[in-house]
Amino acid sequence: MGLSTDMPCQELVELVTAYLDGALSPADRERFEAHWRTCPACRTYLAQMQLVVGSLGQLGCREAEENGAERDRLLTLFRTRGFHHRGPRERSVPLGVVDALASPGDHISYFWESEGEFDAAAGFLAPGVERDEVCVLLGHAAASSRVLAGLERRGVPPDDLERRDRLHTVSGQQPSDAMLQEISDRVRTAVDRGVPMVRVLGNLGWGHPGWPAERDVLRLEARVTDAIRNLPSVVMCAYDVRGLTGRSLLLGGLECHPLTIRRGALRRNEHHVPAEQFLETLALDAA
């Protein structure tokens, strides 16, 4: 029986885990060890606990299984789905807005003309919600609030998603460098939290008050494609066919996106211009 009056046995047994974790304050640690030295019963208790912890650890080691076939399958997945892989990527991301799949890293423009087509864009976020991905709503306030209302109508309450950190609304009123950084930061933060995929729905504020000039928005669009190529994300930018200028539609919508959606069909876009070339032409235009 312990003679130390400093720490009763009953207190020591409650501190064992913190002690083994090195999480006791120096004072408590000293009291703990002082008691331990004088109390054989508590020494036994701690030894029992260490035996239990050691045995649990062995449970982890003992169960190494043969994963031969499984291992080969996973290696194939690595070979075909890894972003080091050149060539077309497997399409695995349901787009929701059309009955088609995209690949991680895709940058898509969505041309809409009717109000119905605009509202359908919220459908892009729906599979993400179901698969517990993160959705980012990037754009001007009027568009974002309409998309949020659209989600609500689909039975997906946006506040609940926001509370669970699954939906972020981001204003685009910042220079293209900052916006590009923000998109990539959002994706990286989500991935760090173990989220499998991030969907970004963009409604850029072409010509809206407080938004960067058209040239800067174009610079953003041109660079998004490369910025997200190796990230588990799909970015879909909505283009208002009736409201935007021909130049915004042509340069932004067509030349900056390798894929387009128009009238319910996803297509590879041969008018896409690689960012470097696009930015060079843009600079010449301005000169």
């Binding site: 029986m1 046995c9 409650e14 064992v16 291992r71 996973l74």
Partner: protein, 224 residues
Amino acid sequence: MSIGASASGAGRTAAHAELSLIEALRQGDEDAFGRLVDQYHTSLRRVARLYVSNRAVADEVVQDTWVGVIQGLWAFEGRSSLRTWIFRILINHAKTRAVREGRTVPFAGVAADDVGGPEAAVSPERFRPADHPTEAGHWTSLPRDIETSPEGRLLSREAGERLQQTIDALPPNQRIVLTLRDIEGCSTEEVCNALGIRETNGRVLLHRARARVRAALEPHLGRE
């Protein structure tokens, strides 16, 4: 008896090795990926089964986890250890599946961080009462001395069998913390990071789980 707490030098080396591993994986190094599978696949399956009911679904969760790792490599910045990150991806997938299956999910909902009501590591009846004049809070019924021979560091077969049953019977939050910490060998910090809970609460859960396991095994631990 002293328990090593910090080894920042070793920590830095480990972090450095981890960054080169991630770089190798990004370049498509299949041997590196194979080693990663060997290291974690069994663990992932074990943890997945704490969330979803059957083996087939657990295997799907694990496969989704590997796809998440493969596709997340370029976005992963090493803010946490690779192991923590992989478990975090697994737990996200497993939770999603468990919710879809209508199962109760550990650490989900508003009370995600709740550790439950008070719970004594050892029954209070085994100690002298607080008003005892000289030995308040001291053992009355002593824990039985355990074997000290090298063989004594292992559980008897009987106790080993009880061990798995005891783990299976733990409350879900305690079971997942104990599994990650003691069976998989994560640090308390890694466990709490992976589960998104506070470290103090994680340690309370670990403490209770270990105490329950010890109590259940106590009849098998001592020397007759």
